[in-house]
């Protein structure tokens, strides 16, 4: 557990960086053979691509890491642990499953989009075309992850058009606006 907390506090740094960039504060790291090989934070606004979540960013970096070291990316994918501050959404859970990541550790739940049990259970459901199911450990540094989200939703997301913006919300988790 202590090991999980250590890795998660590193992932939290990337969530904080996302917040500083004005993105939804979600951060993650991939751990391979006890070392951090890729990190990611949300970059939706920057790329104008709503699918540019922390996990997708980090998966791309794993691929770069593999090609630099001439490692087979499939072998590496299948030996990874993902630490992510918020439960992966349905999309990211689908992505993780397709590349075959066996273990995902996350902080707080994602009530609106969560793909590891909150909305759908992409992690465990029978989906033969999507690759093997993966294990999930939740609740690691959840409170810290929630605090960051609260900070974000206290301010406005400048990239959401005026008419789409909602009144400021303090009760956050059921109002996760755009993209976790």
């Amino acid at each position: 557990m202590e090991e999980h907390i250590n890795w998660m506090s590193k992932a939290m740094v990337y969530a904080e960086e996302a917040l500083e960039r004005g993105e939804v504060p979600v951060g993650c790291i991939f751990v391979y053979e006890d070392q951090e090989i890729a990190t990611g934070g949300n970059r939706v606004n920057e790329t104008k691509n709503a699918t540019c979540h922390a996990e997708i960013v980090a998966i791309e970096k794993v691929r770069e890491w593999c090609s630099l070291r001439k490692k087979d990316q499939q072998d590496v994918f299948r030996a990874l642990t993902l630490y992510v501050t918020v439960e992966p959404c349905v999309m990211c859970a689908g992505a993780l499953r397709q590349i075959g990541v066996p273990l995902v550790v996350y902080g707080c739940s994602n009530e609106r989009f969560g793909g590891c049990g909150s909305v759908l259970n992409i992690a465990a459901d029978q989906l033969s075309s999507l690759g093997p199911s993966f294990d999930v450990i939740k609740g690691v540094l959840a409170e810290e992850a929630v605090q960051l989200l609260k900070q974000f939703y206290k301010g406005e997301n400048p990239n959401v058009p005026e008419d789409k913006r909602k009144p400021k919300q303090i009760s956050i988790l059921n109002k996760q606006e755009t993209r976790l």
Partner: protein, 319 residues
Amino acid sequence: MPVLADIYTQPVQLADFYVSNITDRKFTAALVKHLNITAPLGSFQHLKRVRGDKSKGHRDFVMIPRDHDDSVRESEQINIMMTSLLKSSDIPSTTLSKPYLVKVPICCPATRAQYEESSFYWPVTFHEDKRIAQMLSGTFFSKEEIQRIKNYLLEAESLGKKAAEKGQKHYGIVVVDPDTNTIIAKGHDMCRGSNPLHHAVMVGLDLVARSQGGGMWCLEEKSNVCELTSCESSNGQMASEKSGPYLCTGYDIFLNMEPCPMCSMALVHSRVNRVFYSTPHVDGGLGSKYKVHMQAGLNHHFDVFRWTGEVLSDIRAHH
């Protein structure tokens, strides 16, 4: 054919309810008033409380759901119910006959077909959703619209075919701005290239982002495996100008194959307008395995239509 939430397509589900005859009709109004307090219908508000039966000349009155607690014997339960129902009212207990059980619909009907089926069991209220009714009746799209949809689906199919020729999966995508009837992006699956996440939808969405001055993937590198068209072709200045809507707001998506759960949620995140696809997939996220676009709690919902006309795609349905 629209891919609607289950509430529009499921058969009528039934529950047991206690019902009594009203022996003295002049008490009907008083009974309705009183029982709305002592035996409120709760989640069964769609049931009318009184059912008239002209042929038999009596009225039935719906009361309370059957308690499935087996520890209480049926007759005992009835007795308790009858004494409590008319308590503190001026209505004589003889006004209601010994209750009996009937089946009543559990849900408020969402479509006319469900309404007709429900009414067979017990009279219910029904407010027709005109939009849903149109979708179900097949008059939602005009002939011209159907032809346009078909053409874009065929375009997606031919992109899929190109992908298959290059050893990729037979999946294509066309992104269209329906207001101007122009194609914003065309793409196809590249997941057997270097990135297993390069599904047709993910590729197409990144092409749209790129047309708006964004984008996250270096898709050019693999131009030999992908047929790219972002909107530069239709509007030369767009790529540099960072214009366009917020994400894919207002855009229609055409696919020859139902998207996987990952891609389905990607479409939700991208706030697309509508999705049309021709072939269902057993693990698909927009109708087959899940209805991601209908999940309660999402901040964005969109309509999904599955083509049910003649076969448009060479790919076999994945059932």
